[in-house]
Symmetry: C2
């Protein structure tokens, strides 16, 4: 096959530019890169100065022209946002064109609709860049780990929050101070909501969960807690007790399936979490991402690298382009889809009730500095079958004593019952913090 | 396609058994697992008790029967050793059957011959299990990172030596003591040569280098140094200076290509190396493996996990089986090979002269405890354009003072010239150690 494979690019921001740069400089890369060619590019603003020179006749402001161009065999969507991205993806699929997208928001919310349209049309929708930036994680989950029963996916999958948490930990700095600096440095958006409230991580863990367990979950049922209310003091105490605090996104099988629901029961959540220093994710700092996959028989593997940025994300987009180009070069136009690459669910999954799941806990209480208080707290935990790993009283001040409790892994319902009782103790002024632990 | 894809297994040791166990229990794994079926199995000893029950009519002592069985479409070689493994692989290829192998020794030595036979026959030879046990590393290098210009591959790719080094570091224990315990625990072979002398790691870095840089290197030209002469004292001093000692396997582009050789110049080596604690590989402990890939534009990604063991290795073998099964299911029998999965070189590479390469160094000298000695040493390094990061004198004993020098990155030739001069100094009794640093 000597003809090149025509690519249409929707969006020429930092990622789109990165993709165009790779395609236009194939030397030293996999020779398949030289078999792909940019045929049409949609931009928002024709007059904007670009870091790459694209022949002007390829550029249009109308994304439909890209999707409908007959020389475009493969549509690359890197414009972001839900609409018009979603409609353009579906339009491309219906025209029989495979799609590569970095759009986690669209895939997390409309993945099922898109996958079913793609399977009907006999095309691929590949999404390596949607999670973990440049880190190969989607393809390993779809292909390399297929022989495993996956038990758990644990990820640091938002670079902005990991940057903030790393600085809070290393410099003993306040959240609001670090956030402001992160915004100045370009590591956080002017409106940081989607990152700091965990919404971006929830999009991504929904996608990873669907691939790891073979069935989509409802994005809106993922319990999500961000880092905006995390107190510097808790990061400090966690460090003293041998832990790091990270915003973790987790999806794992739960033991108990509800009788009424025969589908696979998954505990899925995004929340700040204490990690013991021995955990491979505890050393993941700055804007890096990492994802740990636990499966049978593989055990535990980790994928680590830059979770965002033009270069890494472009690398992931090109990986997907090459995968589709490789299949096109095989000359398989009249064949079935490769079941490892095609997007399909092979079982039903649901997000488990929170009260059912087991969790280790970090709890900080403000109490009166009186001798009996630790005994009383311990007694209530015991009564609620909450087993305790450690209770430490940190320096008492005018406002009272600070008591930090780390529990063993216990039922979330039990811990919640115990805390309700403890809050009512006369000696306890306040439940200051309650954070999950691994 | 309803018919199952027939697998022939050469070897039923721990890995072969692990593969058979996955195939015989598809529930909860990728649905493609249920499309593959064990058709024939070659074992060394028919009478041996097995952890898995295989229908006796499938078992044979003659591996040729497996390769030649018409119901076997895909041959899985997990017997190990050079022969008869190599001949059986070539025989399978010539019969038009794709091969999955975990045999790093065969691929490192005869990869080019095998790849060219496979391409001629239009079949795949996949080798995910040959490096890094269960860690997906071969497929990411072949597929997910194809858009990158790879600059450097750095790996901890031998679990036995990493286990020994981890214990030497944590317990301040002697090499010979730890080796003996590792042998008792089954982490080291009775004959540990291939592991502790770095030969296994050299096989693996040769394979990784070929994939990362697109051209095979001569396995026998990889400078290889093991850990058997590593002194506990150097591990201790390295730790004190903020480093860990790991057996690293490295392949990287060098700046300067020799005029006489237009092929890509690579610095490749296996040797004990000091890693600063901030380096992501420094926390890789025990029998775990990890590989860091540096590329443009991705930056640095790391793949981490269990580097050996029946389960992880079987997971990697099954990943390859599924890849080939996925392509077979597409119905591509009359098409070309997928250029991302097929084994081919796309440029020439050679291993650079050692003197040309740059290296940071750890040097331990035994010197007379006299005031001028550090000055004299510093002067000789300076004269040879060796720039020094630190010189530390550790506790002097009866036998003299111990001086540890860490250099900046310098030409290997210069450091070697400087050390020759230093060894001739009256005040220097001995060059006790010279170890590379990252």
């Amino acid at each position: 096959m000597n003809e090149k494979i025509g690519i249409g690019l929707l969006g020429l921001g930092t990622v789109g530019t990165g993709v165009a740069q790779i395609i236009s400089s194939p030397e030293g890369r996999h020779p398949l890169v030289s078999k792909i060619q940019l045929k049409r590019v949609a931009v928002k603003d024709l007059s904007k100065a670009r870091a790459i020179s694209i022949p002007p006749q390829l550029i249009t402001q109308d994304p439909l022209e890209v999707v409908e161009d007959p020389s475009v065999e493969l549509v690359v969507e890197v414009m972001g946002g839900i609409e018009p991205a979603k409609s353009l993806i579906l339009k491309a699929i219906k025209s029989g064109k495979s799609v590569v997208t970095a759009n986690k928001a669209v895939i997390a919310r409309h993945g099922e609709e898109i996958a079913s349209a793609a399977n009907e049309a006999g095309v691929y929708v590949l999404i390596e860049a949607a999670v973990g930036g440049g880190i190969p994680i989607i393809e390993p989950l779809k292909q390399s780990l297929g022989g495993n029963k996956i038990k758990k996916v644990t990820g640091i999958i938002n670079g902005t929050t990991n940057y903030i948490l790393t600085r809070m930990s290393k410099e003993n700095a306040d959240y609001s101070v670090v956030l402001k600096e992160a915004q100045e440095l370009g590591y956080a958006e002017a409106d940081p909501m989607a990152d700091v409230e965990g919404l971006d991580a929830a999009d991504k863990i929904s996608i990873l969960s669907g691939l790891a367990f073979g069935g989509t979950i409802n994005r809106s049922s993922v319990p999500t807690k961000g880092i905006s209310t995390l107190q510097n003091r808790d990061v400090e105490y966690a460090n003293k007790l041998g832990y790091e605090v990270k915003l973790l996104a987790i999806a794992e099988r739960t033991e108990k399936a509800k009788d009424s629901d025969p589908s696979l029961s998954l505990a899925v959540r995004v929340e700040p979490t204490l990690l013991p220093r021995e955990h491979p994710l505890s050393g993941v700092n700055g804007v890096n991402n990492a994802i740990v996959i636990e499966g049978d028989p593989i055990g535990e593997v980790m994928f680590y690298g830059p979770g965002a940025g033009a270069g890494p994300t472009a690398s992931a987009v090109v990986a997907d382009i090459l995968n589709i180009a490789g299949i096109k070069i095989m000359g398989t136009s009249d064949t079935d889809l490769d079941p490892l690459l095609s997007a399909f669910s092979w079982r039903k999954c649901h997000v488990a009730e929170t009260r059912e799941t087991l969790q280790k806990n970090y709890i900080r209480l403000i109490a009166k500095d009186s001798p009996g208080v630790i005994g009383q707290i311990g007694k209530i935990f015991g009564k609620n079958t909450v087993s305790i790993e450690s209770i430490v009283q940190f320096d008492a001040s005018d406002s009272g004593a600070e008591i930090v409790v780390i529990t063993h892994e216990v039922n979330k319902g039990c811990i919640s019952d115990a805390l309700s009782e403890i809050k009512n103790l006369n000696e306890v002024k306040k439940l200051a913090s309650h954070i999950s632990c691994l």
